[in-house]
Symmetry: none
Subunit: 262 residues, 3 copies
């Protein structure tokens, strides 16, 4: 069979079914047909090099950041209904996302996660399991020990020899005390998964230094390979647009050159 | 009659009626009265140098990016109801916008476009025409020819002698294969209109290199003049705020200096 | 003298000098002249009803969110150089902003704050004072007490009878444990100032429920009056665009109606 237009549309529909766990709606607009089906589903989601599960972490961060209610609902449903991501993992993704993209956006994401989780159980005729009770913090309660733990986690996770000085509230009370002192160290979501969410978040926020530092740490640690990271940038481009992806793609090349030359 | 406050308000109300195709609501807050009527409608939309139709492309991209439901509804309605932009053009604007600002935001934009198109026909007592059938792609289906076409379109549209290497998925599978290999080459929306949407999208995304390259290509190609581009930046400032417009305005000056010095 | 164009421009220049603590640059584009000078400086910053200091909190959040380097530099410089906001207050603003709009954007904001603080001291020929050492947390270290403190602060600050359940990490580990358990309770920035920053952050993030809850709490507590809040919305419109301000303005009206009817 030749690779003509109709077979491409068929591949898009098939990919949509697999990813979204539903049949695509019948639509007549080019955004959906030529854009989403023919390109995003037929040609991005189907690529080897990054698993469907991994592509979901990037996509979830993008739809949540865009505040687009229907896409958040659809992708949350698909992530849970496919079994690719567990509900407890999703709730950690939301916390991680809220820290990187702000609590206001996390609020809608949380609400939609609960609603879609209920919808899935309703469709299956099963009971929604009781929520997992809040886990005791795995990190020190003592403020000084917590800061020290945050400094150590900052160095390890960022693959950097030094942590920032504590004397700026952004760093002392924020980054060291909470973001690295607690949040990144939480169980329930792997470091690789946290990196996928983070790379999407810093890329959509497009502040240059965090993009560089998280791409560097992801590649340097080996948690995400160079080939995978290039797929992350394509997935991100599809879900947050080419302008922001352009900088991410150029940083990936540059950091990879630097790491392979070193 | 002197140009005092009351005549300015009158000009704002008159401009609102012409642009929005409806009477303004009665409001008591300064955001609407002193801001939107006295400035945005009285003094931005009424400026010569960029047509009302052209200002709509910039504005539609801004309201869609801002996820503000009511402004999207109002500006989509006004664009269609005034006859300034046809429904088929609007659907191409949405596809172009979705590619530049991400599919999640395109989803709401699409939904609102359908709703407002129905509203207009309901108000007029006419039938919504059947959707325009999907057009055959004007570009090659063969993957290699499609990539080659994308490289050529990239060079022509960006006014640049070379296209990026294919070996990064962001470029090969994304930019060359789809964004320039198909999307920019679609009939149904002119190149000038695509540039207006794109400049607004890259400006609100505030990634530096895409802003520079699209302002450069728009001016260099002559599709948008320097005088028009300055109006684009003011229109953008009104709808996406001064901080981001400030960078766009400075890039326009710089690129114009470079082009006129050459 | 009549209120003609030149007196308005003069008012804009004078206002620019007072707000930005520098002479405006000479520019020829309408974004700067007809937009920023004639409207934003002549007609927004000069309005009574909200102090210049208060307008700065809204503006700083907007420019930081927009990632526009030059505007962040200019407004940080102006806030500090005018004496309207102290450096220690600014660092708390940055932490608060980072929590609401994400750490990546906070990183650039922090860096620029340090640079502009050094610039001011260099211009004055004075020494940059040593940074204020990190203060001991004023809140409980014990995880259970911290959560309880977060629940109490959530109720008081949000003017609501109940706090969210702890069993979702977004709420348990994030909102209750850190955002209300520590951040909002920090000394160094008043509750009114934190509300001004927060309203700007939730408005630019455009998620509906947080906008409503923070506008409600600000008005209900009396920390920000209805008349002041309307000025917040105009200031926000100038710095983040009308589409997002339009929703904020409509929520303010609705909540005020609800509170005055009660």
């Amino acid at each position: 069979m030749t690779d003509n237009g109709s077979s491409r549309r068929e591949r898009g529909i098939q990919s949509y079914r697999e990813v979204m766990t539903l049949d695509p709606p019948t639509r007549s607009d080019p955004t959906f047909n030529e854009g989403l089906l023919d390109f995003v589903f037929a040609e991005v989601w189907t690529r080897p090099g990054l698993s469907r599960r991994d592509r979901r972490f990037v996509t979830l961060a993008c739809v949540a950041a865009a505040d687009a209610v229907a896409p958040i609902e659809e992708h949350v449903y698909a992530a849970l209904n496919s079994g690719d991501i567990s509900y407890d993992e999703l709730t950690e993704v939301i916390l991680h996302f809220a820290v990187y993209c702000g609590w206001p956006k996390g609020s809608l994401f949380t609400q939609i996660a609960s609603e879609q989780w209920e919808r899935i159980h309703r469709e299956r005729g099963t009971e929604v399991p009781p929520p997992t009770p809040i886990q005791p913090l795995s990190t020190a309660a003592d403020p000084e020990l917590r800061l020290q733990g945050g400094e150590e986690a900052f160095r390890v996770i960022n693959e950097t020899p030094s942590a920032p000085a504590r004397d700026h509230p952004y760093y002392g009370a924020g980054i060291l005390n909470f973001v690295f002192g607690e949040m990144w160290q939480r169980p329930g979501l792997g470091l690789r998964e946290r990196r996928l969410v983070t790379v999407a978040c810093v890329a959509l926020d497009d502040t240059q230094i965090p993009i560089r530092s998280h791409v560097y740490a992801s590649l340097k640690s080996g948690d995400i390979s160079y080939a995978e990271m290039k797929e992350v940038s394509l997935q991100f481009a599809a879900y947050y647009g080419w302008p922001k992806a352009s900088y991410l793609a150029s940083v990936i090349e540059e950091i990879n050159d630097q790491l392979t030359a070193g």
